[in-house]
Amino acid sequence: MTEPDELPEDAGFDARAAAIAAVAGIVFLFAAGALTGMLAAAFQEGVRSPLKFAGIAALVVAAMLGCLWVLRRRLGGLWAGPVSPRIRRARLLMAFFLVIGAAIGILLSEFGPVDLWGGSARELSPTLAIAVILVWVVVVPIATIAWWRQIDEHEALAYKDGGFFAANAYATIAPAWWFGWRAGLFPAPDQIAIFLVTMSVWGAVWFVRRFN
């Protein structure tokens, strides 16, 4: 039996656990987005049937809690054991990035060009947009530099590898989509979709390299 704070010597990347965790993470984000949309609609338009609203909200919250339980079960062991202050700071910053990423993901799902919930996408207020921009162009870069100064060389290499694959994904997708659009084969390039694919590649490679 493997000790809780010890990874097996021949530990390979557990693709099944990673896939389950990824699905749980995506479902969590969708559920959070749905809950945000429900609450926003309730504040703006009122609630016609409070009992039905509460029931659906309870189901969504239960789904979110279930996802968190799955994530903790599948990934909790990765962070077990004592850590040095530097690694602890890096983890805290990573948790901060996850919260920021989740918040941005919820905003994209609510106000993005594609409405994931089947209704019409709402307009993003300038105040909220300015707040998001400030976080994105000021807070996130500062936190990223702080995180970069805390991580160990193994994680730095994982991040660089992710950047390499992400840059190549972007260099492949963006021009191909543009040429296809110019020839009338594809719709106009969606910058947010390309951004999400690029960041997903970066994150996936970082995760595999980091925890493999």
């Binding site: 021949d10 990765l78 690694i87 160990d152 980091r210």
Partner: protein
């Protein structure tokens, strides 16, 4: 690159997490070095060797 990190660690009854704490790296980094998936930088290799009171050559072996 082959290394004796796991053996040296086991001789001291240290877990990967404890070794990682002493080296100021993550547990995943220790695991990656032990399994040969990550070759440490020269500064980290020196830290590892000094931690065990050995030379780098005593811990790491680049011959297959």
């Amino acid at each position: 690159m082959n290394n004796r990190l796991k053996v040296l660690r086991a001789e001291r009854n240290w877990s990967q997490a404890e070794l990682a704490l002493r080296l100021d790296v993550s547990r995943q980094a220790v695991n990656a070095i032990e399994t040969g998936k990550h070759d440490p930088s020269l500064p980290l290799a020196f830290r590892i060797a000094r931690l065990f009171d050995l030379t780098i050559e005593d811990v790491f072996d680049d011959r297959a």
